[in-house]
Amino acid sequence: MAVYILRRLLLAIPTFLGCTLVVFFIVQLAPGGPLEEEIRALKMGSGGEGGGISQQAGSVTALPQDAMDILKEYYGFDEPLWKRYPIWLGVYPRKIDRFLVVPGVARNIGDGKSVIVVQNGSNYTVADAANPTVPLEGWKVRSYKNDKGEQKLQIYKEKFSGILTLNFGKSHKYNEPVLNLIQSRLPVSIQFGIISLILTYTFCVYLGIQKAIRHGSPFDFVSSAIVFVGYSIPGWALGAVMLVVLGGGTGIGLFPLGGFQSQDYDQLTLLSKIGDRAYYFVLPTISFCIGAFATTTMLMKNSLLDNLSQDYIRTAFAKGLKERRVIWVHAMRNSVIPVAANFGHIIGIFLAGSYVIERVFNIQGIGKLSFEAALSRDYSILFTFTVITTSLSLIGSLLSDVILATVDPRIRFK
């Protein structure tokens, strides 16, 4: 078992890399990235002087070249495309603490320190400004020509810093580390996910069993109709209907129009806090559940029906066992296998949130965050979200197989 899990985890690595690679390149190649947005914002800010006076031939932008370079470096666009991915992963050194310098002139690098670059033929060494004879460790020097053809000298340090070192970057829209953003948004989505998952499983398994036992009865027919109604309408669409009919706007005002807690939530007592949460949770939770509801119920029903027509059930009845025991002990043990195995696949869908449902109910969850990030090309958030969803999906499918082996004694891993 341990060997199997280890092998699956190893196989997950290329999938993870491939998945993030595809997303990384599509997003990076798409126009309208943060750099272009920033340039546009800066141009708008200094737009009063009229952009037509740029004298340099071949250059359309009115921004100074140095400012452009700093922006490019800030977003990592100065590196060639193929290098950006390993840098983002953290397996290729990232350039940090970059400063443009002039040889022989001291340069302040913050913290009250300053350095000086000493030219030695074609070699450069970086030294402390107070003591120019002793070179400083860790600094590198790069001499390059910028787009205008001017010779520039830059000093920098190198550091492995990427998602493997848990550096998820900074959101350019919120100007905050992505981890903080995710930390503030994830709990809401996870709460919805876990509650929906528990509700779906308890309710669907029970309903499926009842439907199988009473196969062909009016109860079976009516509940089938309801289940298919649920299947025919996407969760967010059902949410929209419920908002219109039951919400505060045009409807009867039974439930709030969106959000996930009252404005005075922090002042409430514990009991009314729970009540408040429940009040806001009802409609979104129903929308979340409805998607997996029909499939799980029918899976449970068909699987139990399948087992009930098997010979070993006939034997169990023949030897005089009570119906309760035959169904709940003999048949159930074999019937929950496919339902349990489906758990892993569903878990990813629930935990990653749903941008559409979160949009309908105006919930500040992770789905909405990443949807907005996709709109504003907030690279760091998008890539982090990709990492989360990919990992969840890979873990989910592994979990499914492990559950399958645990509940079904016939399956052995080799």
């Binding site: 997303v23 929209a240 129009l257 399948d306």
Partner: protein
């Protein structure tokens, strides 16, 4: 009846398995009824330009005749539409003063009746079109009119109008045709990619299979909706682009099914027999295995259809779907939710109900097909 039962030619003839399945399908009342309703509605929806349109069926003006709606009907037909070019008639051509943009046919009808010079206009059954919005000079009451509200020219709006004064019923009707066409084409493309690929993977196996399995795994874990949003937002959205994007996403499901099916069938004796008498591989795959793996393909179809409709509606709802102005259910729901606090309930409820009924009919068909193809009869002892 839509499909007439043919008389059996002789009593000895045993029906083929497909015939038996078809009979079983027809005996399932709910599914068969849903099948007939949906297919008739879809075929009928191609006649929408002559049934529900703001363009006139026929105009007689000073002895000259024109048929704008009939022309629109031919333009919107699948293949004929490529030959016939569309044409907009200016208002001035028919004596509508100072109107060089498209003719307002309903006003023209009133105008002719008042003039009484023998000119006449025949409007379609429901004289409001999906793109027929209130312009700057239009009547203000036509925006947000309630369901069944009567209009100034004596007609009525079945499901009211939306924020731009477009008729909700005609948008629903045209949106139905677009949704079903989109889903059908999408499923077709997915099948065209998924079936051969899945068959090759399952039958040939080997390194190619190993490699493609990884690709499929990657594909299945991608946040594809985001990628679609990014790609759509940097290009001009169109029917074809959406079809392309959703089909490069959708082939994975059907490929996996086909692969499993071919993998299982390959191990059976009849395949070994076919190989041993020297039948070429492609022939074994197409003539021998494919007919035996059709069951999941056919039972899967209604559900790919549902997936296609839902995907299009969701993308439209988020604003990354068909180009603005196209009558689509998703954008209608989005408009409705924007006005959720203003009491215009029909803007949300009507498109949602339309989508719900369409999807429900499809689910019924799917369930019936599954039952017709499933030889299992549940029996239990008490």
């Amino acid at each position: 009846m839509f499909f007439r039962k043919s008389k059996p030619q002789s009593d000895q003839k045993i029906p083929t398995i497909m015939q038996r399945r078809w009979r079983k399908f027809k005996s399932l009342k709910r599914g068969y009824l849903a099948f007939r309703v949906l297919s008739i509605a879809y075929l009928l929806s191609f006649c929408l330009p002559i049934l529900v349109n703001n363009q006139a069926l026929m105009i007689s003006y000073n002895g000259q005749w024109a048929f704008p709606a009939v022309r629109a009907f031919f333009v919107e037909l699948p293949i004929v539409g490529l030959i016939v070019s569309s044409k907009t008639y200016q208002g001035v051509t028919f004596g509508q003063e100072n109107n060089t943009s498209e003719c307002r046919y309903r006003d023209l009808k009133v105008q002719y009746q008042q003039q009484g010079q023998g000119n006449y206009v025949i409007m379609p059954l429901y004289p409001y079109g999906p793109r027929d919005i209130v312009g700057a000079e239009g009547v203000k009451e036509d925006v947000f009119s309630k369901p069944l509200a009567s209009t100034s020219d004596g007609g009525f709006r079945l499901f009211g109008t939306d924020d731009s004064g477009a008729d909700v019923f005609s948008k629903i009707a045209y949106g139905f045709n677009i949704s079903i066409s989109f889903a059908l084409l999408l499923s077709l493309i997915e099948y065209l990619i998924g079936v051969p690929l899945g068959a090759a993977l399952g039958y040939l196996g080997g390194k190619f299979d190993m490699f493609m399995q990884r690709v499929i795994e990657i594909w299945a874990s991608l946040p594809l909706l985001f990628l679609i949003i990014i790609i759509v937002s940097m290009t001009k959205p169109s029917f074809g682009l959406l079809l392309f994007l959703l089909s490069i996403v959708g082939w994975v499901g059907i490929t996996t099914y086909m692969r499993a099916e071919f993998y299982r069938e390959k191990a059976k004796d009849y395949v070994a027999a076919a190989v041993s008498i020297g039948i070429p591989t492609w022939k074994i795959m197409i003539k021998h295995i494919l007919p035996n793996s059709l069951v999941p393909l056919i039972t899967f179809f209604p559900f790919t259809l549902i997936g296609g409709i839902t995907a299009l509606v969701s993308l439209d709802f988020l604003g990354f779907g068909l180009p603005p102005g196209t009558p689509s259910w998703g954008s209608m729901i989005s408009i409705g939710l924007d006005h959720i606090n203003d009491g215009y309930w029909w803007l949300t409820i009507v498109p949602l109900t339309a989508m719900f009924f369409t999807l429900m009919l499809t689910v019924f068909i799917g369930e019936a097909i599954r039952e017709a193809f499933d030889p299992k009869v549940f029996s239990r002892l008490r």
